[in-house]
């Protein structure tokens, strides 16, 4: 039993570079049942590869309508795109749980000022800002999939800007997590969380090390579904050593009333 309240890194929709089995909301509900997770923040996978996220967000809202009791939209807002503030306002109107951003896909390097603007706007609206490090291993990517992994410096830049936005980093592994966490002041660290989907367990025991060094409160449950097996996070939590078996991850549902 994970005690997790929400999967922060779920997505729906096809992936441009390989076939994914059943990346639809109904299957996601089944996966949540199997993994005993009450709800999920759900992004729209194809939108990560669109220039303008508006139409993808519309699809997301529409597809989630029958499942809103358990699936909360996490739409994409691109802060260097015209009228992005309207897209954020629509996300608020639609009851978004978080805002997704893909700086590497949009060519926005570390410390790009628009990212700070987005973080400030998210903070003002009480919405966490979610960054995705990767969808798949860098060694297997399609020749036209050249965005690369999200740099840790991008996250540090936003976290240091003093916007008070909550930042959730998904699909990061130990090295990147440590590079961000220990590159921030204690108060800045308190506003950054990491999902569990790409952290190594035994025998390297990266997950156990991070929990001991940073505290379980810095981590949130994430599966990376549908690109990644949702069972990985369950396995990682189950295989924690005895001194960490009762570790409680942060509860993002407490960040915002549902």
């Amino acid at each position: 039993m994970s005690h997790a309240t929400v999967d922060v890194s779920a997505l729906i929709g096809p992936y441009p570079f390989r076939e994914l089995p059943h990346p639809d909301p109904g299957t996601l509900i089944s996966v949540l049942d199997r993994e005993e997770i009450p709800r999920a923040w759900v992004g729209h996978l194809p939108t990560a590869f669109h220039r303008d996220p508006r139409k993808g967000n519309e699809s997301l809202y529409r597809d989630l309508v029958p499942h809103r009791s358990r699936l909360d939209p996490a739409p994409t807002v691109r802060p260097d795109w015209p009228s992005w503030e309207k897209e954020l306002a629509r996300a608020v109107d639609e009851g978004a749980a978080a805002i997704r951003a893909y700086p590497a896909h949009w060519g926005l390097g570390p410390e790009h000022p628009s990212l700070v603007d987005l973080a400030r706007a998210c903070s003002k609206n009480g919405l966490p800002l979610l960054f995705t490090v990767r969808f798949e291993d860098s060694r297997q990517r399609h020749a036209i999939d050249v965005a690369g992994d999200l740099p840790a410096a991008t996250v540090r830049g936003v976290a240091r800007a003093g916007t008070q936005a909550r930042i959730v980093v998904v699909a990061a592994s130990r090295a990147m997590i440590e590079e961000i966490h220990w590159g921030l002041t204690p108060s800045e660290r308190e506003l950054v969380w990491y999902d569990t989907s790409w952290i190594w367990g035994p025998p390297e025991d990266d997950f156990a090390h991070l929990l001991r060094a940073m505290g379980a409160a810095r981590f949130v449950y994430g599966s990376g579904w549908p690109t990644r097996l949702a069972q990985v996070t369950r396995a990682n939590l189950t295989l924690l050593p005895p001194d960490l078996s009762g570790a409680r991850l942060a509860d993002p549902t407490a960040w915002k009333p549902y």
């Binding site: 390989r18 089995p21 291993d137 297997q140 035994p202 690109t227």
Partner: protein, 282 residues
């Protein structure tokens, strides 16, 4: 699963990890004992009956991991055989060699086999298309030893620190030595596994090990579609949590109980010399 422990996380029944690694004092990692202990402890919880492991020389401390010196080859294999000796109810050893010094490699294989190694581990010191591998493969065939070969799924033209082989290279090797079972390492271990699946579909003596940190949805389904359960073997490599997750995933993608047994242990047991896993018979 060892006596006295709770129900294994991977469910009941035998389970062979064909792709385990251990460490030794000369590995350059102060925590080498803890790493080995962590693997065994997690393995017990998962329910791994047998870890078939290797130590790749000094893991880069005194010669490159993929281009081991003869001294490091010996020390790595000695350390691995020592783990096998001290954990004789749950660990078996691959003999890892660098094929560039053929005479030495053959002597080392014979030395390790006589001490109980049950297979040959080849990594990335020479591509699988190279004739230098042939004497080692002939040795494997003569002694019914499987070969676990490191792979980069759809390798780049060049890679730092290694001369990796991919599925096409391994199929070339398999065609030259059809009597030897070749285990293509870690389809989740980096690179384009879909390229691998397309390459090995019709090469009957190439088996796929499921290990690696990669846990892409769709990979298991497509691997089953490409080669069937009869040519898949389970392993974890460096990440036991993804290994466990893949076993759980097999349970939900429609694999029959008989096929699950094949992947968990029967296929592996059939590849190694008879008697390699006391109590298990494929």
């Amino acid at each position: 699963m060892k006596d006295g422990l709770a129900t294994p996380l991977a469910g009941p029944g035998p389970l062979i990890d064909v792709h385990a690694h251990f460490y030794q004092q000369g590995s350059g990692r102060a925590s080498w004992r803890e790493l080995n202990a962590s693997r065994l402890a997690a393995g017990d919880r998962i329910g791994i009956s047998w870890h078939v492991g290797s130590i790749l020389g000094s893991w880069g401390a005194t010669s490159p991991t993929y281009f081991q010196s003869p001294d490091d080859t010996v020390s790595g294999n000695d350390a691995m055989l020592k783990v096998q000796e001290s954990e004789r109810s749950r660990v078996r050893a691959w003999a890892a060699v660098n094929p560039n010094d053929t005479d030495f490699a053959l002597r080392e294989l014979e030395r390790c086999r006589r001490r109980g190694a049950i297979g040959i581990k080849l990594a990335a010191a020479r591509r699988a298309t190279d004739a230098l591998l042939d004497p080692l493969m002939q040795y494997a065939g003569e002694h019914h030893l499987p070969v676990l070969h490191h792979a980069w799924q759809r390798r780049p033209a060049a890679a730092a620190g290694q001369d990796p082989s991919d599925a096409l290279d391994l199929c070339h090797l398999a065609g030259r030595h059809p009597q030897v079972a070749i285990v293509l390492a870690h389809i989740g271990g980096g690179g384009d596994w879909s390229h691998t699946l397309a390459a090995v579909r019709d090469v009957p003596n190439v088996y796929l090990d499921l290990s690696g940190s990669g846990a892409d949805r769709g990979m298991l389904d497509q691997a089953l579609d490409a080669v069937g359960a009869a040519r898949l073997v389970w392993g974890a490599d460096l990440t036991l949590e993804t290994g466990l997750a893949k076993l759980w995933a097999l349970d939900v993608i429609g694999v029959t109980p008989a096929d699950r047994e094949r992947v968990r242990w029967r296929n592996a047991a059939s590849l190694f010399p008879p008697g390699s896993f006391p109590g298990l018979s494929a």
